[in-house]
Subunit: 534 residues, 2 copies
């Protein structure tokens, strides 16, 4: 794990030589939108958003879904939820909820919940500063995002370390470079070497200047939300009212399960929904710990918490873009450790989708695993998670590339592994063509029994684009593979991530915009940033 | 790869000390049928066959399936297939097929094909010598089998070597020991140190004496088929006519794609179908090589070859148990190397299931990958293959545990990895209970906002069996995992496979049966075995 300093050298070199320069000068690559396929040696499919053409998995029958729905409304009616923020309770009181005086508890008539969420749009667009990167959310769309919120990061050259700005920026470079990654779902790794009061200014500035994709803003205090709204407005060159019409930011709201929403989360819902920005309500319901040990019970609680948050957002601003987040997994009952990519996870990811569709609200799930290194476990847990997410008709896949250790580490090699997995999912979701030409009876006739198709015209006309070309899979025979050094997929991923960071170029940013953004960041830093004691 | 001789020592010790002795003495373990859960330290779910409760994936719509169906019948009508065995052409000529005189080519009216396969049973039972191991085939049943037919094998202690009897027997021990493995689909590894003329006698004898599960007989010449039929009859203690009533053997018939069935395969269909034993017709249609480069074309050819073989088996004996085998994958068009577990593979596995259901014939698919070691690639390609197989409603999963290198190597570590994957699939296929008890509203009420579910009665009553307990997944935090040696899943699998071989005990076999079988093997060896020049 510590046998090379190359990673650091390369990363540092790029850091001093890449985005910072282009950000400061506003240098354009001049090739925006034309780049696909081979870029300085790395071949990838062109940027596109993904549509899932297949029917969703239905793990539960409609009656079972109704029982979970009904149980969750009973929870909200009889037990209620704690809303810690007084402002939130005032809003809910005015809207007709049962707010217990002198307490944080709020109970909801089921009709109140259902009427509120009926205002939620079933589809909406998230706007990027590059119009080619706008993202359709909901419906049959499958949108991916980078790993988010890991406190640590790792690569196999240098091992595991605490998050920092150099690594943060290299993850941003990878997320921008990889066409299969549609957006940033948060800080890939937390740059703890940056001061907490101004960290969000640096990170959001990096998202805007080093990338041109949609990004996420944390709800960790009102001032951070307001800064993010202003920065995305500047980055996109919008007026305030234009921003109100164009959802351009997304925030993840995690409930403090069981049945609580805390101050920064409620503030985030208020500030973001008020400005018509996307709010994703994701209960953190680990079955056996913060939720019942039974999956049905955990899902009922997930649904109650999600509906309460969604209803609150719709009460703040009817019609504001929202998403239903599913994150129910289980814990290892021997150790209490969270588990991901388990059989239980596949089911809850699929049932979460059924519930979200029950309400016509876009659905968020994740690409997760609990392995401590990029090994077979990391791979199989991730693909099981993708199985649940894809067949569950996830609209937004959080932690799409790079998650490790149940979220405690962002791995550079795992980014590449996951990019390959996601590219495979995208290829799988391409509908199969069944036509006279693709059935190819003439080719079968020409080749006949015992022949070979390699040389036929039917093959020659199609072979270059016939099949998915993987990033990592090595299909050589054993002898060739052994002679070349017996590399594992993880070792190959190590080479690829370093190559991609080297090849990264900052996307075009209008110099005036860059200057306005830099001035805003500078001004806010001079003001001292934001409170850190919320 | 060569840093330890332990594997060999352990394996040899067991070989000299385990099954051979118990086989010769007919020693009973005395605990047959009572063993489940923890056995000398290894915990696994009890033996059970698996039912898939979810709806199958429908990648193509019914019209598209009909187009492939129609194209395949056109292939059989206009192009035809080469049947190399004169006896087979005579049978088909009598049945009304268009057999070109002086040629191997046979063409079929579409009605002839459809009428013949209409006799195929949609479900049947494969009988083991232990009645608890009988296997329901077809319908919603999901039956798994061990890796088969690898010429090489490997473990990470000793690396890769050519197949041999010691390793063969250790794979048999693992396949017998693992409850998630329902049957043997062929020799896990080819024991090339055994003389070809009598190898099948030793291997089949091992299946019967070292295991009590259903097994497969190769169709590599009439005499081998007849020996296998006699040996399974002896092993099960049946009369000839009883065997005719009870399918107890399975044979895989691969077409020589494109559009050919060779002598041993046709002989195998004749001998096995004639005795009412299970015949699985599996075209080996690698898109871009032995089949069109388009998946639709490859599937049309797969379907044509499968229907021809299935129809032939039904003409030999109407109502004989058969299965529709799907094995369509793609090749790497740069190198010609076969690829497995690709996006293309998921689709063809699912569409193969749609076609098999179109005809009401049980479906066979596989757990495949093309990695050269047990790394992330081996894991993700395998889970993608399982995704296709499971959602495609596979009834028989070939190569369920141990396949590596596109079938050129059987890996001991991969057996354990796959057993874990299959156990996870089985847990995923357990229907979720939605009831008042599982919804657990009382537990949610008791815990309330901000509480914890670990200590509740609802949790305490259920936690031991609430979630799948993995073989390999390590969910400890990074620090604990690192302190314990930073093992990968593959390193853990290495320990587990050796432990299981150590713990293996031969299942009970009636001494008289053992003696009769040994006498048959001895007599056939004295006779010189079988021809090897077919």
């Amino acid at each position: 794990m510590n046998d090379g300093g190359l990673g650091e050298t390369a990363a540092t070199a790029i850091e001093n030589d890449g985005s910072s320069r282009s950000r400061r000068t506003g240098r354009s690559s001049g090739r925006r939108g034309k780049r696909a396929g081979r870029q300085n040696g790395f071949t990838q499919p062109a940027w596109k958003t993904i549509v899932n053409p297949y029917a969703p998995a239905e793990v539960l029958n409609p009656e079972q879904i109704e029982r979970i729905h009904d149980a969750s409304l009973t929870i909200l009616e009889e037990i209620g939820m704690d809303f810690l923020l007084p402002e939130a309770r005032e809003i809910l009181d005015k809207a007709g909820a049962d707010v217990t005086p002198g307490s944080e508890r709020v109970r909801f008539d089921r009709s109140m919940i259902l009427e509120a969420i009926a205002n939620a749009p079933s589809e909406f667009t998230l706007h990027a500063r590059n119009p080619e990167r706008h993202l359709p959310m909901g419906g049959r769309n499958f949108i991916t995002s980078m790993v988010a919120s890991a406190p640590n990061c790792s690569d196999t050259d240098r091992g595991r370390r605490v998050g920092n700005q150099v690594d943060f920026r290299n993850f941003v470079r990878l997320g921008q470079k990889l066409n299969i990654i549609h957006m940033f779902g948060g800080y890939p790794v937390e740059p703890v070497d940056l001061p907490p009061a101004t960290r969000h200014l640096d990170c959001l500035s990096d998202f805007i200047t080093m990338g041109d994709k949609v990004f996420h803003a944390y709800s960790l205090g009102r001032e951070r939300n307001l800064d993010a709204l202003e920065m995305v407005r500047i980055g996109r060159g919008l007026t305030e009212s234009e921003l109100d019409q164009q959802p351009s930011l997304l925030t993840i709201i995690n409930t403090s399960s069981p049945l609580r929403l805390d101050n920064p989360m409620l503030t985030g819902i208020i500030e973001m929904a008020r400005r018509n920005q996307a709010v994703v309500i994701t209960p953190f319901t680990l079955s056996g710990a913060m939720a019942p040990v039974t999956l049905a019970g955990a899902l009922a609680q997930q649904n109650a918490e999600a509906l309460a948050g969604l209803a609150f957002a719709q009460i703040v601003r009817p019609g504001a873009p929202v998403m239903y987040g599913g994150f129910t997994s289980n814990v290892d009952m021997k150790s209490g450790a969270p588990a991901f990519g388990t059989p239980e996870y596949i089911k809850t990811a699929q049932i979460g989708g059924q519930l979200a569709r029950r309400y016509g609200i876009p659905y968020r799930s994740s690409n997760v695993n609990a392995s401590n290194c990029v090994d077979a476990q990391a791979a199989y847990e991730s693909v099981f998670a993708l199985w649940g997410a894809v067949t569950g008709h996830t609209n937004l896949l959080k932690h799409g590339a790079g998650w490790l250790e149940g979220g405690l580490c962002a791995s550079f090699e795992k980014v590449i592994l996951d990019a390959d997995l996601l590219q495979m999912v995208a290829a799988y979701l391409e509908p199969l063509e069944v036509s006279d030409a693709s059935l190819g009876l003439d080719a079968v006739r020409d080749v006949g029994p015992g022949g070979h198709f390699f040389g036929t015209e039917h093959t020659q006309a199609r072979y270059e684009k016939a099949f998915y070309a993987p990033i990592l899979s090595d299909w050589r025979n054993f002898e060739s593979w052994e002679e070349a050094g017996s590399e594992t997929a993880t070792q190959r991923a190590n080479r690829v991530f370093k190559q991609l960071i080297q090849e990264y170029e900052a996307p075009y940013l209008d110099p005036a915009t860059a200057e306005e953004l830099a001035e805003f960041v500078s001004k806010r830093k001079e003001e001292g940033g934001v409170p850190t004691d919320f």
